[in-house]
């Protein structure tokens, strides 16, 4: 439940209902269930598909990254129902934009660390003939792109707002170039998501039902 909560909250810009800080639980051991016996953990015999717990842990780590971004975004701005907040909170200014950029750069760092920390078989460029592992790679990549897109989207919206309000906030070369690079990244992620899904063979290619639990619960409100 932590994963859908974090992703959906990020999409809606609202505080997460579940915080991992209040649920300090270590990640599960990355072993197959049948290796857990009454006597303890037995050794894996022969070569077999790596435990799906690797995938589970990677998804949960992504949810934590989403959660940290939300916590920071909403730290000094209490969340209100849409239409009930103070409109002044949405005004665009260089300070807010700089803080936003810092946050995005931090997120980029966390995502890069997450990427480099992935088990070898789940790395996006890892060659495998195992159908299950392929599905896990694809799902992780889509989720990674999605959270990256959501990290950069506030900058995209700020640029649209700047164009609408005809403000001078983006007149500075440095700020403009950084924000536009962020917008480009956001666009690239959106294009990559489309390409990823297009290149799949269909729903069967993307894995087991529980990968898509967030979609099941919250599909209609996800644009």
């Amino acid at each position: 439940m932590l994963t859908p909560c974090s992703f959906v909250s990020l999409k809606h810009g609202r505080p997460p209902a579940i915080s991992s800080e209040s649920l300090p639980v270590d990640p599960p051991a990355t072993i197959h269930d049948d290796c857990i016996t009454d006597e303890g953990i037995c050794e894996v015999r022969g070569s077999r598909t790596p435990s799906p717990i690797h995938f589970f842990n990677a998804i949960v780590q992504l949810a934590h990254i989403a959660e940290t971004m939300l916590s920071y975004m909403l730290k000094d701005a209490p969340w209100c129902l849409p239409g009930h907040g103070q409109s002044s909170a949405r005004e665009l200014d260089p300070i807010r934009l700089n803080i936003q950029i810092r946050l995005v750069v931090e997120q980029e760092g966390k995502l890069a660390m997450w990427l480099s920390g992935l088990p070898r078989h789940l790395q996006f460029d890892a060659e495998t003939t195992d159908g299950k592992v392929k599905r896990q790679q694809k799902m992780l990549r889509v989720r990674y792109l999605h959270i990256r897109l959501m990290s950069h989207r506030p900058n995209l919206l700020s640029v649209i707002q700047a164009g609408r309000d005809k403000t001078t906030v983006l007149d500075g070369d440095f700020l403009r170039s950084v924000v536009m690079a962020s917008v480009q990244q956001c666009l690239d992620c959106a294009c990559d998501i489309v390409t990823m899904l297009k290149d799949t063979n269909g729903p069967e290619d993307m894995g087991a039902w529980w990968y898509h639990l967030p979609s099941m619960c919250f599909s209609p409100s996800h644009a």
């Binding site: 999409k11 809606h12 810009g13 609202r14 129902l81 849409p82 239409g83 009930h84 949405r90 799902m139 889509v142 989720r143 792109l145 999605h146 897109l149 959501m150 989207r153 506030p154 995209l156 919206l157 700020s158 640029v159 649209i160 707002q161 700047a162 164009g163 609408r164 983006l170 403009r176 170039s177 536009m180 917008v183 480009q184 956001c186 666009l187 992620c189 959106a190 294009c191 998501i193 489309v194 390409t195 899904l197 297009k198 269909g202 729903p203 069967e204 993307m206 039902w209 990968y211 898509h212 639990l213 967030p214 979609s215 099941m216 919250f218 599909s219 209609p220 409100s221 996800h222 644009a223």
Partner: protein, 165 residues
Amino acid sequence: MVVPSAKYVFFSFSRLTQRYLYPTTDLYTALGTLFAVQGQELISKYVDCGAADSAVDTALDYLNKLGDVSPAVARCRKYFHSLRAWSDKRRSPLNTAILRDMQVPVSIRAAASTRESGRGVDSDIHLDPMSISSHDFGENAGEFLCDPTSGLFLEPLLPDLFFDI
């Protein structure tokens, strides 16, 4: 009478379930973002938006291919197609007069209902501005919150997209 085996029923159900649970939500997010940049002068001045147009086409084709596996997905697909029509007209250099009056289809329900009532794509993009407001739907909050598919673009971040309604 032929009775399907339990295995057949299980796999049929599994395939159907996977279609329902396919991560279209990620596609919706991507599509919403791609539509947001279309026609944005400030962005197109500094960012290469060429890939966005073809990505929109690809995504819409893919939604068509996926099919209307549920009423919610069907409405989302119609909504994005109406957004496409809106976007095309908005960018057309010949329609400057129309542009002033154009309304972005901010509601899936509105887009779907206008189609269902027999009006075409043109109708989808001329919604009653009094009935849909992205910034203030306080009076209609109960209505919007009751139907999650209707408020697709009414989340806190996205109202910024409606910059020239």
